[in-house]
Symmetry: C2
Subunit: 749 residues, 2 copies
């Protein structure tokens, strides 16, 4: 029933105001609900340390090196995070980190406090720890070996650490040899007794593109001048006749005291030492830049200048709270709010800021230094994020989404291609497909159009049409000719589906732009997956080059990320429904509602569903396409949230994928989902809060808020959905109706 | 007979003027006689490429890497020079080099022109060569593989290269991985299509003090913008599980095209590529600094700015000619003049300039950056150079000698100790003894006193007296207590003799300063070698700690640089007479003139004399102490010059020892020698030119010139020596008499 009059809206707004004030005064703020430990186990790959929203700098406790009696050691396995909650041996605090990725990268510039005699071997100076506290923008821990308390916060480009040392000799190390990245090479120099500068090579994300390894620069400022300082280097070991003359020092670490010389090498570092008469604190600010040491210094000065640790934390906390308060939730348990706001927090880490305070940033491939007036974003894990993270950003943070698109278009200017998996101005070419188009079209059709739409359109067309030397769409010729990639290419079914999805998005933009021919062409191309449909199996199946089915075919092959012939990171079941733009068409292929529904239910009944990876994460919502079966979606979503998302370190199903899993949770708890990325449409399920208020950005949306309310009954199934008091008569709602609707009420009575 | 009246002097001066003009107009200038190939074979360790007088930058063809079918490969033996005349495989042109040293060091920043496709492996891009031309300040060569002509010159801090390329693709590489030094680690960055900047770690001279390894910075400017550019890196190889994921690239070189990113590593480089329609030349200027990249850039700009290759060469040629013209020789063969001026040239390479044009330089141990108004000199191989090179500099280039002493005193300010073997602000502590005192006293007593003499005096006393933690004089306690070092110390006899010699120098300064107690104390200390005199052997012999002779003792042990118990780089014979300050005392110990003379002659007769090393190089002059036997010195010196010093690559007896062997030759050809360093005295032999004119620096000396003339007879023995026409009645002359005398005439009739 549609029942909300204008009066009622005002009333609601007013009661909300009061509630808000009471929250402000007495209750927890959204930022207070963030639990950064969520996702720090079970390969979630989140880190518990501080970062500002979309910050360049971040600090993570680093406990994955030299860990004894545990398999989670960085060099003994493919490990993509600087911190694992179960580990116990801490060797420093890394100053640049990625959150929720699947490949080792960054996790470098390790700051470490110690006491007593200087020790530079991390296996010897590492410590167990206790009393970890993690909040939005803050982390603290006690190092047992040294009785040192470390506290950490960060502004956008500066990590700030505060160490409370006991009386006696204390040391602060910056170890550039150790790190999560599998790249090596650093430079370091003590500038004065309060400053160190340097750089660290990082890159080769997923052990790809080693030639694109790149530098991260830093300047570290210390609040107290060192009594003694120095650098160290552990050189590589010589062989041959020269080794004889290097008796005693060949390959051994050298400590170089009281020197301001530049040292380079794979395993180097610097130390500051103090002699304290009483307990003392030292604050260390580390400014980061991907352009130069000078810019790192400017970032540090402009962002943190004379600000204390507490002042930096206060500002970053406020920034987080402002961002997180764009969605206010009421009802639900404390844990519900915690997992919700932590998920929203995780969607606000990547893409992150690449440019320095002066606007400079390295252009793609580092051919030159660019300059921006706005924000140049980086870390676009688009194969993941196009599905829900970017649509969420378009809705809640449209200005950020706009700047992200502008960043993507700048990459196109610089490189000739839209990004695929862009990381700090390197194109890692990880995963398959051409997802940038979907992200841009999705935002564009949702009303974010303050960028050069035609440039974006032509950039998409280039990726979609250029047959030769096309780094985004390998196999494009075969795809266009046959409608699919054959097994001559890796993951041909997955890739075909990704191309179809992108082509569908392009067709939508073509239509909107009145480009009829393109519209028709791409609309047609987007359905070519149908040629891979095996009617017997009711599954999509790889074909070999001559058109025959690939044999022998095992639909189960490829679960748990095993390599297989047809699919990338999944099997035939996990890709069976990955045609978000043509579920109706797929339904037909399968023989109608019932067979579709049965096949879909089988995925869940037979545990073929993988909550931890992207291809099938929209599946729970697909029952909304079958009239009368929508309750299955409602039950499934609720069940999956309860099973996989919890207020504990293991509380993510796996890699967060730069916020994609978290975005899934944010949507699912709010009761809607962007079911077909590119399409400005959402599908609806039961919210997990009594009320959700999304504040809209007046620069992009007319209304101030979207409000989602629910009325609960006993069997938990939705009976009615109302938009501003009028029945919706659908489990789908267009973006326009949604953002202009006011209140969506989900009624179960 | 003293015969030269004032009139005659004027006449002489006048005829000299005419001669000089005729030289200027038609004849070869002193600089034209320089043959930089001398000393590039037979371990002379000179390099044939250009350097300005006492320049920081120098360019050497680098042909010691990957040399096939020859033992002179840098990694297959202890090799201390970037170029060996017999080698044939050239892999670049190193931009900083040491001349005439005995340990591998510098020989880095290798510039290399190639043509065709880019190749970054020096074993593949190296080339044979022909048509080498080497002159003071100039070197050129044709690279056979590429038909590229390379020409090279240098200003004080900038190496300038000019490559003439054929039509087609050409490349200029800067390889920072390759080098003579046994240190590793570099940084490089393309700044623009005409500029590259970077640094290279060097150090561990003689495989000592690896913790003192230090950076040399550079900026390279190209006269033509590169069409393509890039960097490369060959990383170290991973082992373990990560190696599996680095399939195909683990440990392999990576070329990174068109990028301005900073790259660090042990094996890195940068390239500029061109496509030429016709033959073209490219000039590359490489500015050097030991302080910073900024200073390297400033050095480049200030010294060479817009100057062409030819203009830089012209200026450097003039500088060389001005310096070399301080001594004019007449008579003698072309080869005599060539070996003479080349030797003088070799004495003007080290010590060399360390400070940048803005006066900045790294202080000892690089604790901070210092600044000088004058010249900060470096590369003080004092164990070698105190014997004759510094005395020569005091006589001919007293301002330089003064600045060298000021540099040494600055080192004392910075480090607390005078230098021993200082190299680019590292103290290598190579060799034994405390030679700085001798150098300073020698200059001081010759009238160079425009420095803080008392500071110098106290610095000497500290080195001579501080028992504990004395890095200059290990074993000092035992030396003071017993008068000698026992075999508990390495090379105890050699070290005792060095300490004696230094103590004698200190006693001379103490006397001059009126410090009577010190004078007596050090005069006494300087004779303690006598306790090591074995009357039976008439040799100096090591004692063990309890005072007994070391047994079994083989006086021959230690020739050819073999390690032995008593001596450093020599045996008992080569040190038997190394008490330059107490030859009369030694004579007494030996039993008088005759036994002394016999023992000395035995050294030469039995081929125990080593012309290639310092301890015994004054021996040929020692017959001058025995009345009636002076002719032996005259014959020996002449014979040794003819045997060991020639106008060919093998024309030095061995390591030039930063000009020490060359200084020996310069003195010996002029007919006098500083027989007792510290003492302002020379001994005289037959000049090898008809006339030698040494121009004196009016800031330090009253007279304009010293003129040495000879009159020849048949048997070649000196009959009379006249000073300004008056008989000298001695084969010795004081410095004062010499520089104030006007003309020294050596008459054989």
């Amino acid at each position: 029933m549609f029942s909300i009059s204008k009066k009622l809206i005002l009333k609601t707004a007013c009661s909300f105001c009061m509630l808000f004030f009471s929250i402000t005064s007495f209750a927890q703020q959204p930022a207070d609900y963030v639990n950064p430990f969520i996702g720090t186990s079970n390969f979630g790959a989140a880190f518990p340390g501080p970062i500002a929203p979309r910050g360049m700098a971040s600090i993570s406790p680093f406990n994955v090196a030299g860990v004894k009696n545990t398999p989670m050691e960085k060099d003994s396995q493919w490990l993509s995070n600087p911190y694992v909650n179960e580990n116990t041996f801490l060797t420093g605090f890394s100053q640049v980190n990625l959150s929720g990725v699947g490949c080792p990268e960054l996790g470098v510039i390790l700051l470490m406090p110690t006491t007593g005699n200087l020790e530079i071997d991390h296996l010897k100076y590492g410590s167990t720890y206790s009393n970890e506290v993690a909040k939005a923008g803050y982390y603290s821990v006690d190092l047992k070996k040294y009785k040192v308390k470390g506290e950490f916060t960060a502004s956008k480009r500066v990590g700030v650490s505060r160490f409370s040392f006991p009386k006696g000799q204390s040391n602060i190390l910056i170890n550039l040899g150790l790190g999560l990245t599998n790249e090596e090479g650093s430079m370091i120099k003590v500038v004065s007794s309060t400053e160190i500068e340097g750089m660290r090579s990082v890159g080769s994300f997923c052990y790809n593109s080693p030639e694109d390894a790149y530098p991260v620069y830093f300047v570290a400022k210390f609040s107290k001048p060192a009594e003694k300082f120095g650098v160290w280097k552990k050189p590589s070991k010589y062989n041959g006749v020269e080794a004889q003359w290097m008796s005693g020092y060949n390959g051994k670490a050298r400590i170089m005291k009281n020197t301001i010389k530049t040292v380079v090498g794979d395993s180097i570092g610097s130390y500051f030492s103090y002699k304290f008469d009483k307990q003392e604190t030292v604050e260390v600010k580390i400014g980061i830049s991907y352009v130069s040491i000078e810019n790192a210094r400017e970032n540090l000065e402009k962002e943190t200048g004379d600000k204390s640790f507490d002042a930096v934390y206060k500002d970053t906390y406020k920034e987080w709270n402002d961002e997180l308060s764009k969605i206010l939730v009421e009802g639900g348990s404390e844990d519900d709010k915690t997992i919700f706001y932590t998920a929203l927090y995780h969607t606000l880490i990547h893409p992150n800021t690449l440019n320095d305070v002066n606007g400079e940033y390295p252009q793609i491939k580092r051919t030159k230094i660019g300059k921006t007036d706005g924000t140049r974003y980086t870390v676009f894990s688009l194969w993941d994020t196009y599905r829900n993270m970017h649509p969420l950003t378009s809705l809640v943070y449209p200005k950020q989404q706009s700047d992200m698109i502008k960043s993507m278009l700048k990459m196109y200017d610089e490189n000739g291609w839209l990004p695929k998996w862009e990381l700090n101005s390197t194109e890692t070419f990880t995963m398959v497909g051409d997802p940038a188009s979907i992200v841009i079209v999705d935002a564009c059709l949702k009303g974010i159009q303050d960028f050069d739409v035609y440039k974006a359109y032509y950039a998409m067309l280039k990726g979609a049409d250029q047959i030769e030397n096309n780094p985004l769409r390998p196999g494009l010729k075969e795809y266009i000719e046959k409608g699919y990639l054959s097994t001559n290419y890796p993951g041909p079914v997955s890739t075909t589906l990704e191309y179809n999805t992108s082509d569908y998005a392009i067709s939508l933009l073509a239509k909107a732009l009145g480009e009829k021919e393109d519209y028709k062409r791409f609309a047609k191309r987007s359905l070519s997956y149908q040629k891979l449909f095996d009617k017997n199996l009711k599954l999509l199946r790889p074909r070999i080059a001559n058109g025959n089915w690939y044999e022998p075919f095992d639909p189960e092959a490829g679960s748990n990320f095993e390599a297989n012939v047809g699919f990338i990171e999944g099997n035939a079941w996990q890709y069976a429904f990955m045609v978000p733009h043509d579920i109706k068409g797929l339904m037909k292929l399968m023989g109608g509602d019932k067979p579709f529904s049965d096949q879909l239910q089988k995925v869940f009944d037979d545990k073929k569903f993988d909550m931890a990876n992207e291809p099938d994460i929209a599946y729970p919502y697909l029952f909304n396409y079958v009239k009368g079966e929508e309750w299955r979606s409602q039950e499934l979503v609720k069940k999956l949230v309860q099973e996989y998302f919890q207020n504990k370190p293991k509380g993510l199903p796996g890699n967060d994928d730069t916020g994609t899993m978290s975005a899934w949770l944010v949507y699912s708890m709010m009761g809607f989902y962007p079911i077909s990325p590119g399409d400005a449409i959402y599908t609806i399920t039961t919210p997990m809060f009594d009320k959700v208020t999304i504040k809209l950005d007046s620069r992009y949306y007319k209304k101030e808020n979207i409000v989602i309310e629910k009325e609960i009954n006993t069997d938990g199934k939705i009976k009615t959905i109302e938009l501003n008091g009028k029945p919706l008569n659908s489990y789908f709602i267009s973006h326009d109706d949604f953002v202009n609707g006011g209140t969506l009420k989900v009624i179960q009575n």
